[in-house]
Symmetry: C2
Subunit: 329 residues, 2 copies
DNA sequence: CAAGCTGCTGCTCATATGATCAAGACTATG
DNA sequence: CATAGTCTTGATCATATGAGCAGCAGCTTG
């Protein structure tokens, strides 16, 4: 090797750096092999490798992902690592004219992604599901044969006496019809008037057996609701204005399976929770696969609360919600 | 492969693109192997390779060299490809307070680079050299043992009668002393009064033998001079004000070996050229290795002219000159 | 000047990557 | 409903790259 001559060191100009840039140019821009670069530069391919290594370490060469959607992947990674999730899906929701449209579109997009994610995951055995507008949309996106699961079981009470029914049954039915699984409903309201009644109902075979099935299911799919005048629980008549005021007072930010949480991930109003029929959150959190779906403006707080409660290990949501969660975690 | 299920096509979101970004993220940011990426994403490593390929082709991933000196390498490449050079060296010259300082610093930097380049190239046999301020500086930067060449020969006339001598002998001597090569001077002025005298001198053994040696040398090292009041030929008394005016009239932009060129690379003033003693440019251009050195503000035009004349195959210059040449080529 | 030390070089070998190919899946069309 | 064509997929093999190591040069220090 004649490299020895360079040891005379006539190098005020950073000859080594020059060599590095030249190597980077030939390798990254012209796509030569390290061998070819070495030949052109008169150095061994090992040296070329080391030069490129240095270029990368010293950030003389920057590799960046410039696709506009990369931020979604970054949000997904952020959610996964911060909350130890198995996976996360964050979808882009194009802006719409009105906030109402935005909410509808977000729900539609997120639900589609949730359905795709569920399909890809191929859950088996029994699958517990909640209800609500988002879950209804998820159900609508499921395609026949999406899972080989044997049973679909409702995770919480849903039977409504109101003029605007919950359509909870449709959710379960659609999950079942598209998969050939049997279905099991929870024939009870989401929330009743007293803890004693809740206990009595849960002890009764009608509700109790479904609850037992919900308990033993290895998979759960559920959405998150907001607290406030647009709450589905209010519309369905499960809670009244007084409850709403108490929830607001207690700092509730939304609900999971009808159980309202405050931002720290704890039950906001234990007295109300004791009147709520369905799987308790600790038991939900214990499942192997927990797909939580949050779609639409204002879902950030309840999403964060649910994540903190540890009852989600697969998150599906929109960019706005994910951003809020990451920013406030 | 369960990939079949994805063919149901619940993909308004560009699922494939999402996968691509995820792969790019894991591969380029987290530095996993394609195998590992494939495992995490549930696809084969071949698919990962194809995804990354696509990401690169579609510019979803951009690899850029961000080091501040990369522009110098780009200029070098530009010079090499535009003028079919063997190599080019473009050096950075930090700004100074005054233009005069700038010229001195540029000469110093470029000369250092030229000396380093020469050293790295290890020319053998005979080496022809020109003279001038830049060449003197190059000579000063040579370190003992820089070449195993046998002879250093002066390429053009240099003997001056003026108060300010050319110091051309110092250039040759320094080249010789640092290498152990013998030296051969050209004992004649650069330019004489008549073509006849030039011919007579070149026929004489004193000049003729040196000229023959200059002709047979396989390597040449020379600098480029500007035309104008600061011309070294004027200062040395080789040309007078009248010649200068004629050169300006003829569109001369500078000289190589005392031969003045116009921007198109041709002899600007043939009548003057016939009075110039030394190697003709066609013979210079025929050599295997021609190191041309241009340093300092205002050298762009003569550098371009010399390149167009085809008498350079290794260019050493500063950023300003290189930029000018590229922009005007 | 000797001796130890540091840092750099190129080597060997394991691994990662890319090119090419054959088979299968889906589409479009008769 | 068949069938040809196109696209995608994973396998094989050659090549490119990276990890770890031993040798050597130059520097420092006694």
């Amino acid at each position: 090797m004649r490299a020895g001559v360079s040891t005379v060191g006539q190098d005020e100009l950073g000859l080594e750096t020059r060599l590095m840039l030249r190597a980077a140019q030939l390798y990254y821009r012209l796509h030569l092999t390290q061998d070819q670069v070495g030949e052109r530069l008169g150095v061994s391919r090992f040296k070329v490798g080391r030069l490129l290594d240095r270029a990368l370490r010293e950030s003389a060469v920057r590799i960046e992902i410039v696709h506009p959607d990369i931020r979604l992947v970054e949000l997904e990674d952020g959610l996964c690592s911060r909350f130890r999730l198995r996976s996360a899906v964050v979808v882009d929701v194009p802006p719409t004219a009105s906030p109402a449209d935005q909410e509808v579109l977000a729900r539609e997009r997120v639900a589609g992604a949730a359905a795709a994610q569920l399909t890809a995951m191929r859950p088996t055995g029994a699958i517990g599901v909640s209800w609500g507008r988002t879950m209804l949309e998820v159900a609508a996106h499921l395609r026949p044969g999406w899972t080989a699961a044997l049973e679909i079981v409702q995770l919480n009470g849903a039977m409504s006496r109101s003029a605007r029914p919950t359509r909870a049954q449709e959710v379960v039915e659609r999950f079942g019809l598209t998969s050939g699984a049997s279905i099991q409903l929870m024939p009870a309201p989401a929330i009743v008037g007293t803890p004693e009644l809740r206990e009595a109902l849960e002890r009764d075979a009608s509700v109790g057996e479904t609850l037992a099935a919900a308990r033993s299911a290895q998979t759960a799919v559920f959405s998150m609701g907001v607290v406030g005048t647009e709450s589905v629980h209010l519309a369905s008549g499960f809670i009244g204005e007084a409850d709403l005021a108490a929830l607001a007072e207690a700092g509730a930010v939304g609900d999971v399976l009808g159980r309202f949480l405050s931002l720290d991930g704890r039950i906001a109003l234990p007295s109300l929770d004791r009147r709520t029929i369905g799987l308790p959150l600790e038991e939900l959190a214990a499942k192997a696969l927990n797909v939580g779906v949050a779609a639409g403006p204002g879902r950030g707080p309840i999403a964060l609360a649910a994540l903190r409660a540890g009852c989600i290990n697969v998150m599906v949501t929109d960019e706005e919600t994910a951003t809020w969660v990451i920013d406030h975690a």
